[in-house]
């Protein structure tokens, strides 16, 4: 089937997509946007997190056809015209990145959290990010990155 959708603000059209494919494989294999990662393909790790019509989802669990006409946001589009989104900058500066495989999904999840809850408590951070697994960091520096970003973002997100 054909697929037309908007990705990071740009209209994209894909000529042939299998009905059994997911939004994740469309992004990675059809559109070459490999920033979004595949680590479990069953929604257990959050590495594939993207925005779908303004809500944070696991793209591995979205049937490709459901993205027809949708507005999708990925890590590649987060910074817009800037070099880095404040969340990305905070991750880098706080030492919240090691192997980095979980980083795109987490950056999206943190971006989503901060636009809804500009000054989250420790509990709110942990519950909001509980769907994103990280094997390298033990999570502590990621929480530091969230606080660092929260202090800078002032509740405004350009996305």
């Amino acid at each position: 089937m054909k697929l037309r959708l908007t990705v990071n603000g740009e209209p994209r059209e894909i000529g042939e997509v299998g009905a059994d494919e997911s939004l994740l494989t469309v992004l990675r294999d059809s559109l070459g946007l490999t920033g979004t990662k595949n680590a479990c393909e069953q929604g257990e790790c959050g590495s594939c997190s993207v925005y779908l019509d303004g809500g944070l989802v696991c793209s591995c669990l979205v049937p490709a056809g459901q993205a027809e006409g949708a507005d999708v946001g990925t890590v590649e589009g987060l910074a817009g015209y800037r070099d880095l989104d404040p969340v990305q900058e905070a991750f880098a500066q706080a030492g919240a990145i090691q192997c980095g495989f979980c980083t795109p999904g987490l950056v999206m999840a943190v971006h989503d959290l901060l636009r809804r809850v500009p000054d989250p408590s420790d509990g709110q951070i942990r519950e909001a990010l509980a769907g994103n697994l990280c094997r390298c960091t033990g999570y502590q520096k990621i929480i530091s990155a969230v606080r660092l970003a929260a202090g800078r973002v002032n509740g405004h997100h350009g996305y």
Partner: protein, 302 residues
């Protein structure tokens, strides 16, 4: 494989009738796992995401109508007052990403004994409304689950909504897992007091081939509350009642050993949880009498 996107409920029913091998999908959080792992090859996917109004939650007198496509994210907040057990259960499902997409209709369609929505539906005495081109019917939740991942629907039917009486008394839901988040329940328990009907409802998850009600425990507690006039003039229940109730809940379970837990642990955990959720619901009832809202997620000194 086809991908069908009906834009009305009638179109959806038509697609369902014409393609018996078609798989309905809403949030995709169950269906896509099987597809990603190539465990199934349906003739088509029937996307319910464009059917207007399928996710609405509305009240009709003493009843709630929960649209099949209502997401856990929505239910967490929308049901705090009218169906607290399901609001609590919704918060335990997966992750924020999953809760944004997963639906109550999907839970019922998959009919897993571990489905988090099922115990609250049992405890509340819900009806599942299913539709086909031939019409609409309601299936009592107690009759809905026919086996592990099997339900009482016909091949040409879709779930349209769940009907449940609005809470008239305190409700609780508790789910045990081996870690603190993102777990498929090792076991779970819902308890609802229905003072308007002088009834007690329970639901047990992940401790049998299907979600189960602890019928003997329900009758026992109803007997105690009814005979001693405790619905009207509530007072503390005492250790003997608590213990008996807990034992009866535990004995209703039919668990097996599996990778997530042992049968012995499931029975033990249910006994512990039963005593606790009874403590909490009864404490709420003592404090406020009938039609009390159990605040979701806050500890109450008991």
């Amino acid at each position: 494989m086809h991908f069908l996107q009906p834009t009305s409920w009638d179109e959806a029913l038509e697609a369902r009738a014409e393609l018996p091998g078609g798989l309905p999908v809403a949030g995709g959080t169950d269906v896509m796992v099987d597809l990603n792992f190539r465990r199934c090859h349906p003739a088509a996917l029937i996307d319910l995401g464009r059917v207007p109004g399928l996710g609405e939650v509305s009240a009709d007198g003493g009843w709630l109508r929960i649209g099949a496509a209502a997401t856990y994210e929505h239910l967490m907040t929308a049901l705090r007052h009218d169906f607290p057990a399901l609001a609590l259960a919704a918060r335990t499902v997966g992750s924020p990403q999953i809760r944004h997409r997963g639906t109550i209709g999907g839970n019922l369609g998959t009919a897993s004994p571990a489905g988090d929505a099922h115990p609250p539906l049992l405890a509340a005495g819900a009806d599942v409304e299913v539709a086909s081109q031939s019409g609409i019917r309601r299936i009592a939740i107690a009759d809905f689950f026919t086996g592990p991942k099997r339900n009482a629907m016909a091949p040409d039917e879709l779930i349209s909504a769940v009907h449940v009486p609005r809470a008239s008394g305190p409700q609780q839901f508790a789910k045990v897992g081996t870690r603190n988040a993102m777990v498929i329940a090792v076991c779970s328990l819902a308890l609802a007091l229905h003072p308007d009907r002088r009834r007690v409802g329970t639901g047990i998850g992940s401790a049998g081939p299907v979600p189960l009600a602890a019928a003997e425990a329900e009758r026992f507690l109803e007997g105690v509350l009814g005979e001693d006039g405790l619905w009207e003039r509530p007072r503390p229940l005492g250790e003997a009642v608590r213990g008996r109730f807990a034992d009866l809940v535990a004995s209703a379970a039919r668990p097996v050993d599996d990778v997530r837990g042992s049968a012995a642990y499931r029975v033990h955990a249910l006994r512990v949880l039963a005593g606790r959720v009874l403590d909490w619901t009864w404490a709420d009832y003592l404090a406020a009498g009938p039609r009390h809202e159990a605040p979701a997620g806050r500890g109450v000194a008991g």
